[in-house]
Amino acid sequence: MPHYKAPVEDMMFLLRDVFRVQDIFAELPEQKENDLEIISSILEEAGKFCSEILYPLNAAGDIEGCRLENGIVRTPKGFAEAWKAFSEAGWGGLSAPTEYGGQNLPRTVQILVDEMLSGSNLSFGLFPGLTRGACEAIEAHASQALKDTYLPNMVSGVWTGAMALTEGNAGSDLGLLKATATPRADGSWTVTGSKIFISSGDHDMAENVIHLVLARIPDAPAGTKGISLFLCPKILVNADGTLGARNAISVGALEHKMGIHAQPTCVMNYDGCQGWMVGEPNRGLAAMFTMMNAERLFVGVQGLGVADASCQTALAYARERMQGRSPDRAGTVPIIAHADVRRTLLSMQSFIEAARAMVVYTALEMDREKFHPDATIRQRAGENVALLTPVIKAALTDFGFEAAVAGQQVLGGHGYIREWGQEQYVRDARIAMIYEGTNGIQAQDLVIRKLTLAEGLPVRSYFAQIRQTLAVAAAHSNAAPLAEPLGAALDLLEGVTTRLISGDLAGPDDRNAAAVDYLRLFALVSFGWMWVRMVLACAPGQPLPDALVQHKRAAATFFMQRVLPQATALSQQISAGAGSIMALPDELF
């Protein structure tokens, strides 16, 4: 039967052998006590929680879904108890500041726990994820009084958070949003408007829901420069910290949707509710965007987590399902004997393991950005994160969805049937390509903003890092054959990068048309880089299990020979420019 086991061994391989986090954390004063031993115990224990408590609720939660009863959202059976257990075990405060009851652990550990949450129960995982995002925005921008009132209870999970940006007419283009806020005499605000698609907008798992709402104040400039951020609690908090009256916030409806059924996606009405401004007037979008990188990394990892869960079931199934014959084995064989099934499994694994490495690489940069004592290093790391954020968000969710479909295919007809859980993964994985900025918008962000960020220094340094690895790999018998095709793909990527920044493809339509293909090419080269680094970490003499070393070498070779060749096609597609796309008049589509 299907199961989910947190991939702690692979995570520890990345942390210990590939990225040597012990050396990185040693440079970060606030993190230097967090050695591999403590990280491994944390991951082990989080993994147990996810597979033993959250995973068993995943299928049942999907079937039962959330319900709106007399204006109150009911989550599926077991969710409230699981939330209580999760909060009491302190998992919500993993990376939160110690002054508000958190453990101040690195982003790198947080994001790996997020992967487990996503793999075991994505609907559930969004509750702590959104609460953390809201906490980070409050911590970075709110007044001390707001922080003291709200953060301790949000960090401990007594209250949860929600982020209310989207409106019917304002999705990708938040500059169009219409919700308003007018000042009150006591310094607070009256917030009015209707929001759609608000995740965790309401539920019965915690005492209060803290909404961060984007709205316009009187005389605000049009567009994105006229948006402010407001903290609006579902239940008002008295001066002594106890809960008071209901705020004028209500759930208009629950959306009926393709997946994440156990996650309440709400139409929210803010009917003149009381709110408090977070950050500066008209700087709300900027405030919201400070934790955007972290949120997008989290959404990327959702694609990865669900893909891994699907892969685990597919692999177990392929070992047991007897079907067909194979040339060198007698009788009916388990389907893992068939080349095509093996190809499917390797395409999943060669993505999943490289993606996990990319996540660790990026999260480590975020930890440097936050904790490194040297300002230049913080700055460089921050730029690198800004560059990679759209890649992680979009590539991990695009490939993650493809992997979930592949995992469904391995089960044949049973992949389509509810019982095995594979079809749920397909439905659940799909949303991550859409929310938190569609993957199309991520690609635009990469091509239009991130390539030219800081005069193009981040992208040049990123490519230079890959070149460095290639130089090392050239002298290494297991890695050299991998370095060669990766070098060729990197040449293609660098070629189109230059043309998109300032060459023949730098026009607005060419860039807009190229963006999705470009992001995919960028991701493939990045995954290839991770594979070379993983194989380098498997150098002879390392005390690694033989099974792991053999697996990594085989998956790396598969990736270079059977996935990376897509780079050539992508580079050709990009080079074709927007001509064939823009020529057709709208009405002739």
Partner: protein
């Protein structure tokens, strides 16, 4: 009760597939995931529950093994043990030597109760608790599936072939745990973090003055023969005939 001592062993994780070393001298543990022996984890849980019920003041975890066994001790600390001790040794160590080392610690720590796992899932010896009780000349109850402390007596329900047997032992006593005694808890994150600040004392085995020379000689370690393919028989009489021929009946 003032103190409970819980000896724990670090073993190859039960989910890992053991591989025999190329030279056939033992199981290859390099790079493999090692965990606290499941029976020992149950022992820690039971001790911590007694403490939480106010029936014991302190829980001390101890392990005899390589430096890496500190990870298992940290887990015991995260579950709620108050302090830990490692007697460090890299060499092979047999149950009798382990029992002698635990006795030494008992003499120093003076616990009223020692709770051990009934056996370790690596070599399945099932000896240490019994040997320890004999060395200490304390009463023992093995294979515990329920345990109740009442004043200076511990009542232990044991899983035996014919069903359950309940023994009442005057303290101090030695108890070994069976699988059904309890279900070990999930550690909370703050407790994992606190565990690393708790005392973990390391003593090299050489400093203990205990004879740990192995009494057994390992001639060789081999993986089990892979199962042979089956054969379809025509009827029951052929089956019975084959089983007779194979000496199985």
């Amino acid at each position: 009760m003032k103190k409970i001592l819980v000896p724990i062993k670090m073993v190859l994780d039960a989910n890992m597939r053991p591989r025999v070393k190329a030279d056939g001298t033992g199981i290859d543990l390099s790079g493999m995931k090692l965990s606290i022996n499941p029976f020992c984890e149950i022992a820690v849980e039971e001790a911590v529950r007694l403490k939480e019920k106010g029936l014991a003041e302190q829980v001390v975890a101890i392990s005899i093994g390589p430096a890496k066994a500190q990870d298992s001790l940290r887990q015991a600390l995260a579950m709620g043990a108050d302090s830990a001790r490692l007697i460090e040794t890299d060499g092979p160590i047999e149950p009798l030597a382990v029992a002698k080392l635990i006795r030494m610690v008992v003499d120093e720590e003076k616990p009223e109760l020692v709770i051990l796992g009934k056996q370790a899932v690596d070599d399945d010896c099932n000896q240490t608790g019994q040997m320890l009780a004999a060395l200490l000349d304390w009463p023992q109850a093995t294979f515990a599936s329920a345990l109740r402390v009442e004043g200076t007596v511990v009542h232990v329900t044991r899983e035996v072939d014919g069903g359950h047997q309940t023994l009442s032992l005057p303290l101090p006593a030695v108890v070994t745990t069976d699988l059904r005694l309890n279900e070990p808890r999930h550690c909370s994150l703050p407790n994992i973090m606190k565990a690393r600040k708790k005392a973990l004392d390391v003593t090299p085995v050489a400093a203990c003055g205990v004879d740990t020379v192995p009494r057994l000689k390992v001639l060789g370690v081999k993986p089990p023969e892979p199962r042979k393919a089956g054969r379809r028989v025509a009827d029951v009489s052929e089956l019975v005939g084959d089983l007779r021929a194979a000496g199985a009946i």
